[in-house]
Each structure stands twice: as structure tokens, then as C-alpha cells.
Symmetry: D2
Subunit: 371 residues, 4 copies
């Protein structure tokens, strides 16, 4: 089988998840090529070497510029903070590499558009890693909507609730720094909800919004007395209008105690409704109107006939978080093989960024803003 040589830039949380996906995909699915974990790239030599060993990469490097230029590399997989996405992706595209990039695609619309222009010009395959589209239950939701099982859509209701920074003593990490992360809950997690909204319902045309920072200063390091400002949002709230008359809400916060990773949504249509929560990601709540004995049913999305599940286990044997990356990598490989652009592409990344941008503008202008 032909090889697909991968270079991964960044090796922390997302790097661990992506590495696993590249290692596992061929064990559970028929892939058009064999992925080779060629080289992982990071700034600190010792750490990147340790990561290479731990995560299963053949080589390590401290220069992403050299790495993306290597002749033997087919794919560049970007797992770094958002402020570096654009430069790496553009260079990779110019070097003729297919590019998989973590979300949000960039920290600004301008950067995202520059990235889209570069991959388009280069004719390479590109994909943004909104992995939650490839939760089997979410893919099933998409299928049911496309089949018309919900009828005409009326409502989208998205929540992404976390609680990891409720403690005011939690330090000011890079995700709380605008220069690195671009924004807070908005870009980190609302971007997922917005991607799901676009995926399931369609394009967003107008938004109202509010951004809130509850804790304005935090220790620079754990336990440190030195404080640093938090210049991103702790919570992002928005109202949405979609093409075609659907209305929606998206709320994202890191201040909802007890909600560890509550990425949930509900869609209501004229014939049915569905609801999902990532904390129970193997389940889809489905309501089909059939008279008084109807009710939300808990579909265990673990059957071989459900999206992606033919690769895994018998019904009722659940999969976990990292499997969504395996599905993403699988579809990225299939797209490369078939020479087409998968979804969500960098174009989706740009559109997502435009919604985030509109929310920021609306939060500032105190008015509805067009996307």
C-alpha cells in the first residue's frame, strides 16, 4: 500500500489526539494509503524528542519551516496555538503539502482568508479539524436532517459549557491571552458550536452578541503572586439568524461549574427534533412526531449501520473522544486519495471566522451585525 508521510507541527493536547488518529486509523478502517508518522515539530528540542517517542513519530524537529519544506512530506498537520496557523499553513501550501489545521482556522478573518487563498492557489487538499462533525451521533443528526426527518427547521440551540477556569487562582495560560489565542471561549469553544450550527442548519447571516470576562486578572503562573491581565472573554453569548428563517442561540462559557465539556445542541423542526451532548457522545436524542406516544428517544449510536461505527465494536460498546480525530483523519485521507476538498474545508474555516468576527463586532457595537 502506498505511504502518506505526515508532519505534525505542535505536540501537546491536540498533538496527542492527532498522533493517535494517524496511528489508529489503519487498524480500524480501510484507508487508501498507509499513514507514516514521519516527523513531529516543536520549539523545545528535549520536549519534542520526548513527544516523538511517546506519540510514535519517526523523527522530531525544532524548525517548522524546514519541516514543511521537506520533499518527503505529503501532509502537514497543524496543532499549534491559533496565532501561528496562518504562517505555517501558507508555507505548507506553497510547498505543495496537503494541510489539516486545528480550529479555529486563524485568529482573524484576514489570516483565515490568506490561508484559504494559499491552499486554493496551491491546489492542495485542506481541512479544518472541527472534529465534532465526526462524532457518529452528530453525523447521524446530519443524515436525519438531510433525509428530511425533521422537516422544515425552526430552531438551533447550541451550548458549550466548561468549568476549568472557575477558580480565580487558575493561572493566566496562553488560552487566556488574546495575542496567542485570539479570543477566549468564543474562538476556543463557541467556534465548535458555530461550526455545528453551520453544518446542521446552514449559513448564519446576522448575530447579536455579548462577551464577558468575569475574572480580569490571574496569577501569571500557578501559585504565583504576580498577576497578569485576562484580555479574552470568559463567556460568549449570541443570538443568530440563519438563511431561510431559522433562529438560534450559541452560548459558550468556561464558568459553568459541573459542566466539564458540555458541548450540546438541539434542533427543532416541523416534524421532529434532536438533541446531543458531547459528554454522552454515543447517544443522540431523537424526537419524531407520531402522536401522543412520541417522545425523545435515546439512540445508542453504536450500530455498524451508524456513521463510522462499522470500524469499531458491537452495538452498545461505546467509543471515546479521540475517535473523532480518527474519523477526521480517515476522511481527510479519502479526500486526498480522491482529489477533492473535504468538509469542513478552509472555506468553512473562513466562514466560521466571519461569524466569530461578527459576534465580536456585535458585542462591541451593542447592535446586530451582519456576518
Amino acid at each position: 500500500m502506498k505511504k502518506l508521510n505526515v508532519a505534525m507541527i505542535g505536540h501537546r493536547f491536540m498533538g496527542k489526539a492527532h498522533s493517535n488518529a494517524w496511528r489508529q486509523v489503519g487498524r480500524f478502517f480501510e484507508t487508501p494509503s498507509e499513514p507514516v508518522l514521519k516527523v513531529v515539530c516543536g520549539r523545545d528540542r528535549q520536549e519534542v524528542e520526548r513527544a516523538a517517542r511517546q506519540l510514535g513519530w519517526e523523527e522530531s524537529s525544532t524548525s517548522w519551516q524546514e519541516t514543511v519544506a521537506r520533499a518527503d512530506i505529503d501532509v502537514v498537520d497543524i496543532c499549534t496555538p491559533g496565532d501561528t496557523h496562518a504562517d505555517i499553513a501558507v508555507a505548507a501550501a506553497r510547498a505543495g503539502k496537503h494541510v489539516l489545521c486545528e480550529k479555529p482556522l486563524a485568529n482573524t478573518v484576514a489570516e483565515a482568508e490568506r490561508m484559504l487563498a494559499a491552499v486554493t492557489a496551491a491546489g492542495v487538499v485542506h481541512m479544518v479539524c472541527h472534529n465534532y462533525r465526526r462524532v457518529p451521533a452528530v453525523a447521524l443528526a446530519k443524515r436525519l436532517i438531510e433525509e428530511g426527518r425533521l422537516g422544515r427547521l425552526y430552531h438551533f440551540r447550541g451550548l458549550y459549557l466548561q468549568d476549568w477556569i472557575v477558580d480565580p487562582q487558575f493561572p493566566r495560560v496562553w488560552r487566556l491571552e488574546k495575542a496567542k489565542a485570539g479570543s477566549g471561549a468564543l474562538g476556543d469553544i463557541a467556534s465548535h458550536s458555530i461550526d455545528l450550527a453551520r453544518y446542521l442548519v446552514g449559513e448564519i447571516t446576522e448575530v447579536a452578541g455579548h462577551l464577558q470576562t468575569f475574572i480580569k486578572e490571574r496569577p501569571l503562573r500557578p501559585g504565583s503572586g504576580e498577576l497578569a491581565p485576562v484580555d479574552v472573554d470568559d463567556a460568549a453569548l449570541s443570538l443568530l439568524k440563519f438563511e431561510g428563517g431559522v433562529v438560534g442561540t450559541v452560548e459558550a462559557t468556561r464558568f459553568a461549574l459541573g459542566r466539564r465539556n458540555h458541548n450540546s445542541f438541539e434542533v427543532n423542526g416541523s416534524k421532529g427534533s434532536l438533541a446531543f451532548n458531547l459528554e454522552r457522545m454515543n447517544e443522540l436524542e431523537l424526537y419524531i412526531e407520531e402522536g401522543p406516544d412520541s417522545g425523545f428517544r435515546t439512540v445508542q449510536v453504536t450500530d455498524a449501520r451508524h456513521p463510522y461505527m462499522q470500524g469499531w465494536w458491537p452495538p452498545g460498546h461505546i467509543i471515546g473522544y479521540e475517535h473523532t480525530f480518527t474519523h477526521t483523519v480517515l476522511d481527510f485521507m479519502l479526500a486526498i486519495d480522491e482529489g477533492r476538498i473535504p468538509s469542513p474545508s478552509f472555506e468553512d474555516g473562513v466562514k466560521n471566522q466571519k461569524v466569530l468576527d461578527a459576534v465580536e463586532r456585535a458585542a462591541s457595537s451593542r447592535s446586530w451585525e451582519r456576518v
Copy 2:
């Protein structure tokens, strides 16, 4: 025991619930007086006579004007559509009657203020029937928040989802007519969520909003070919800012298939969270941060030590919808006995109306509006 003579104006859905409350309150609670279901009032003689028999009223009348003026009446209980509240309440107050009024207090802020002025001038006891404050689980939520169990509050998230008019053939009833109902989902059900938000969190200072009518014409009567315009909102969405930095959302819709009466909310604070859903109104979901083994716990609010539950059954034996009216009537009677104004008063009704009004203004101006 001294008697408390009640006159009830209106006798349909709310009239049935209020009548039950007046009949039952003394059977399950120690009341300061004995309520007498003296007279029920309605426009159609035959129907109001039938209602009197069915619901247990001594007499019936077709004139609310005469009724509220009767010397032997102590309390006027208003269960009519919103467009008639003001006239009845003002007349009742001028006649020196204590007034219990269904929600929303009125169809406009001006009407509501006129009502408040009248009861204040007359020195009578007044209460608006936001009965959901007196769900034991909601009263427990209030107690926990007041005790500081949730710490500093950050988020309120209110949903009131119903599905009774999703069918476009459902007729244009009075609740879909602006002249009678004032507004649609906004005044009918969002008003409950806003009342709960104010009760649990505090005053709302600013709102953004959107009102949507999905089905713009409906049959004038069931099965009729004649269509009538729907001039109220099918769905009302809002973002809220509260005094003290809490942020919130309230969404109300009659287009969420499968959600029969999903009046739910969640509050997140620095030490804990709580969540409630009227469809499981005997339960409160409570999260108290105590480390990794914490989790949302389902409190069965059925213990004699829980609010109002000493009157009913042993733990685990649940109560239903109509009990909330019994608790409301109980507290109204206690307030009359003690000569104080209960909560929510007409002042709360005015404040609620001002929030509804701000949402309407914001929906129209496409900007945040001060309450």
C-alpha cells in the same frame, strides 16, 4: 375560623387551576382563614353556571363590575386574558379588595403601572400569579442561592419550550392575537422565565432580543378555510445583563417539537450550579464543587423539610402542576392575614413587563436596550 370570600373572574384553564387551589389549600395546610369560593364570573351565563358547579363556586355572575363591587367579597382573583387585567384589577382595588392576578400582569407597561398605582393607593394586598416560584424545587433553588451555596453568580440560562402550535393547521386562537394576548411566546411563557430570573438572580438591566413568527396565517377556527393573521411572536430570544455582572439568556418558543412544557433554567456560580425543568418539577439538579467526585445530583424535592412539602406526602411521592397554585394561594392568604405585600407583587409584575417591553424594543431596534 374566619372566612375569606373569594370572587374569581374567568373560569377556563387558569380558573380551573385557581379554583382547585382555593378548594385544596385548607385541606393540606394550616391557613389563617377559611377560603370561601363565593362567586365565579364569566361572559356566557350558561358556561359560567356550568363552571360554578364543576369547580365548586357558590354563585356565578356575568358581570365582573358588579362582582368586584360586592360588599361580601374580600379577594378578587383575575384569571382572564391579559387585555382585561387592568380594568378589573383597578376596579377591584378601588373597591378595597385584595387582588391576585394571573400573569403577565398586563399587556403593556402603562397598564401594569396603572394597576400598581391602584392597589398601592387602595392599600390592598396584591400578588401576580407567577406560580412557578412556588414549585418546591424552585423555592429550594432560591433558598440555596440565598444561603450562598452557589457563591457568586455568573450565568442564568432560561428556556421555555412548548410545541402546541407547530402544526400550521392549528387555529388562530386568542393567544395568537396581539389585541388580546399582548404578545405571543414572549408574554405567555418568556414572562415566566424572566420572573424566575429576577427571583433567583436579580434585576435585569439591559437586553438584546429577537422575535420570530414562523407561521404568519392560520385558520380562524379548527378546520376552517378562512385564514387570520398571526400578529404575535412564535418564538422570543433574548440576551440579558443583570445587576452585578451576571449574564443570561432567555428563550421561549412554541415550536420545539417534543418539548411539551419545558420550562427549564440553569444557574452557575463560583461554588456550584443548579438546573431545573418543569417537566420533572419534583427534582432539582444541584452541583456543589467538592473536587473530582462532584457531580450534578438529582435532589428529589419531596421531603417534609423542603419548601411546602410538609403539607403533602412522604418522600418520593410527587406532587403535580396544580399544587403550585395551592402554594401561591397559601402565601397570598398568609400575606393578607399579616397585612404585608407578598412576592411577586404587582411591582414585580411591572418590572417583568418592563423587561418584556425592552425585549420588544430591542427586537425592533436591533440593538441592546435598557430595561
Copy 3:
């Protein structure tokens, strides 16, 4: 409307629930007659007078013998502990009264048979108050099974879990005394599960069983140092074989902390399954096999087309524990009017008692026993 004069014997927990049912039934349902709460009977004059006032009875009496013999009484409603059921019921039947009797029908099979013989000989209408048959969700379960929606039945799984005596300092009340209560969890709550099993599935032919008493001595009174033996079971476990090849389990305990009133069951058939829990009594979990997107659906049994619900509130507005007694009384009144024996009759009471007896014999013989 013709009157139906009721005498109620006993006035504590069950008396409160039955009184409410007699008062409420005519307010929410069309009844063939008007129930009159004529006389309540108890041993202590002061307490029974207080009960009469509180619960709405015209008169009180301290002699059940005189009461059941009164010419103006149509119905005797027995709400006393089990050791007194037989004498009261037999006397009432001989006096020509219709008899409604709390469960379990008696403390022994012999007593139950004597009662059945008496009501049969007298030709009066008789009913045992297994009120949970008349939870709307349970009646819906019955309807679905009878319609064949579950296909051939395979399994019944009944649990009745409570936790009110886990504390060893909880006193030795009458329910823990064999002479009064007959048995412990077995007769008090397993009897409900067994009634539901018989109602939904059919007759039980053979049982294996185990009875366990965890706390063998308790304070005679709250806080008392004087101990009294507990000579009934704290927990009753059984395996069941039904006619027609269905197999089942019933477990009842008062030692399941956190389970306040967890009367739950599940039925599995060749086409579907259903599950119920009294703590969420307005819901029925229904599974109909329709391929991989099937799932247990939560039916909110609150629609006017659901059993008994046409009397109450709109969809999503739940009812509570005491409503099951109202439904029982309604059906009892209809049966009297139509001159037929309702279900569950004293014959059901005898059959239930025979199952309880078989479990006791099996627990003692350490072998399966025929019912």
C-alpha cells in the same frame, strides 16, 4: 345527581389520600354519582374529629362496627393496617356495602379468602386499592401490551426500593411488627410490584425467594433506649415464573439509600420493551424495535388521549401521587354504577396474597414453591 355515601375507616396516610380522592373526583371527571364524605372512623375520638375537619368528612365515629352497619352508607373504604382488614370488610359486606380496601388485602391467604367469600356472597362491589395500576403511564403500558406493541413477552423486572428505615435509630413502628403488618417490605411494597406484574404480564406460577432483616432490634419509640424486635423482613427478593414462559424478578427493600420511592419495572418482549419508575410517574420509557435508530423514548404521559389525562391539564403539566387514588375511586364508582366488579378485585387480592405467601414459603424452604 344521586349521592354515594362513603364511610372511611382509618384516617392517617391512606386516609388522607383517599379523602382527597373522594373530594376531587367529581371536580375533574364525570362521575355517575356524587360522592358524599359521610363519616370517618378512628379509635381516638379527638384525633378522628380533627381528621374529619381537616379531611372534609361530615361526621366522625370511634366505632367501625356501628359505622359499617349504618343504613345511609353505600361504600366502606378501608384504610387501616392489614390486621383489621378482614373483620371490617366482612362486616361491611354482610351489611350490603360496597367495599374498597387498601392493600395488601389481608395479612394471610386465609383472611383474604374469607373476605372474598364475604363480598361474593353479599353480591357487593369490591376492589383492592393497588392504586399504581392507575398511574396513567402504567395504564398506558397495559394498553400497549394488550395491543401487542411489545410482541411476545419474555421478561418482567420489578423493583420497589425505599430508604426510610436505613437509620438503625428509626423506631420500631407498626409496619415493622408482624402482628400488625403481616410482613415487612414484602407485603407493604413487593405486593405492589407483584400486582403490577400480574396486571401487565399474567399469573405467577412458581417463585424462589429470600427475606432479610438487616436491623433486628430498634427503639420502641423515637429516641427511646428500650429496644423492640423487628420480626418482619427489611428486604424481600424473588425470582418468578409466569404462565406462558415469561420469567421475572421482584425485589423490594427499605434499605436502598437514595431511592425514596423507586417503584420501577421493565418489561421486555419480542417487539419492544417498556420501563417505568414511580419517582417519574408521568413518564413511560418505551422502546419499539425499528432498526438501528430505535431507542428508549421518554413518553410524557400527559396528553388528553392518555389514560385518565383528559380530566387534568394540558400536555407537559404533570400530576402527582394522590391523583392515582382519584382514578381508583373514579373506576370504583363507575363499577358500582354499572354493577360489575372492577379490577383489581378481592379476587386479585387473594391471588396477590398467594404469591406473597409462596415467597414466604420459598424463603423458608430454600426451594422454589408453587403459588
Copy 4:
């Protein structure tokens, strides 16, 4: 790092799960050695070669006898049907290999004892793969019980419900053949519940039981008109007595429509309760008695401080079925390194088998049987 050379016998469902565990363990956990997937063994050359490629084994073999005798093999991992466990395990032990064996350990007590004798005599490390002990939520349950958080234990209630053979046209596969599988639901899934009961509560001393076969003949092959007898149980029901006065039930069935892989249990003690369901394996339901505001809390067992979770993802990011095998393999490797016998050992396998045997005897004798 030193190598640990593994030979795996069998390569279907369990072989896929075990292979994944051996491949993944070193990527997520610090292991004392590096597992090498040396050789996989199967009866059909073509299939085992394909399996080796797919699952990542260096070599394949069609002779387990030769394989277990190879000098370069350290560990034999047995993933075959139950009727072959004993011969393979005994040979492996005699060859000085550490042995990991799928459950149930054997098809009879005699076989299991022969296996235990062999590994003990050989002084090799042995473990039976009851992987559900290593669900983090189950390991947390164990920790909480050991810490005394539940107090004195009273009840264990285990269910293992599946539905994969409800269709009578489902063919008579090897799991429905007594000669190969030993028993049906009893050995396949009740054995898991019994292992969890022993793990969490203690030794079982006496049982009552019932075995039921609902569909007595099935197609020999899918769609075949030729029928073959089903000589194992479709459902196994039991009552249990434990050392120390705990009572329990275990029910296992493959005829519970809608229950895909419902391996659930509940434990009740004097201070608290806990409940678990494998279909939501990242959650533990925990009740701690703290007064009326207590309730079952849903602990998301996804925190780094929870058992095994430090290896995986941030809180709220769930793991799946196969991870339990990774944890099992990790603990097996640690035991080998430290020269101690892990739990559950072959001794546990023997004890488990004795309980299964007692249930079979009790089902046959219609009496309680000592284990």
C-alpha cells in the same frame, strides 16, 4: 526499555480488543517494558495472516502449540472460545509463559482448577480478563467502597441485558452451543456481573437460580432453513447471599430489546449507594446521605485524579470500550514487572466459575445451592 514479547491466540472480537490494548498501552501510560506484538495465532492461515496485518502483529501462526512453546515469547494472551482455554493455558504455563486469559476462565470448574494448578505450579503471572473491573468508574466505585463511603453494605443488584439474539432468525452461532461456549448468557455475561459483585462486595456463599431458553431452535447459518438446537440459556436469573449478610441479584439476558450492552449494577450501604451502567461507562451515579438535599449525583469519571484517567484526556472528554483492555494490559504488565499476581487472577476465575456452577445446579435442583 526492555521488551515484552506477546503471543495472542485467537483474533476475532476479543483479539481485536486485546491487540489494540497492546499497541496503545505504551502511548498513554508509563509501562515497565515495551510490549511487542510478536505473533498472532489462528486456525485458518489466510485469516490469521490478514489479522496479523490488520491488528499489527509481526508474525502469524496456525499452531497454538508451537506458538506457546516459542522461546522468545514472554506472554500468552488467550482470546479463543471457552472450550480451548484450559489446554492453551496449561501448555503456556508449563512453557513458563505469563498468561492472560479471556473470561470466563473455562467452561467448567474442573477445567478452571486445572488451569489454576498449572499457573501456580509454574510460578507464572496469571490474570483473567474481566476488563470491566478497569472501567475507571468501576475502579472508583471500588475505591469509594473501600474508603467506607457507603458504610456497611446491604444490597448488590446486577443486570447484564443485551438484545442481539431476540430475532428468532438469528443463527445458532458458537455462543449458542454448549459444547463450545459452556453456557449462554450465564457464562458470557452473568459471569461479568458476578465478577463485579465479588470485586465490589465480597464472596458469594449461596445462590438460587433459573435458566431459560426462549428460542429452542435456530437456523444453522444466516438464512438457512436447516435448524440447530440451542442448548444454552438465553437468560440466567439468580438470587445471591454474600459473606457478611449482603444480599443480591444477578440477571443476565440476551432478550431485553433496546438494551444493547446494559451491564449495570447498584450497591446500597448504610451511608450511601452507587450505580453504574456500561452504556454510560464514563459516569458513576453516587449517593451520599447528607440529609434532604442529597441525591444521586452523576460523577463524570474523567478527571486525572480518577483511576486510569491521568493517561487520557482533560475532564469531560470520554473514553470508550476498548480502553478497559488497555488498563487491564497495563496492570498485567506492572504485575509481571513486580513479580506479583494481579487481580482478577485465575483464582478469581475459579471462584467465578464456582458461582456459575452453583447457579446451574440451583436452576436444576430448584433449590438454593452452596457455592
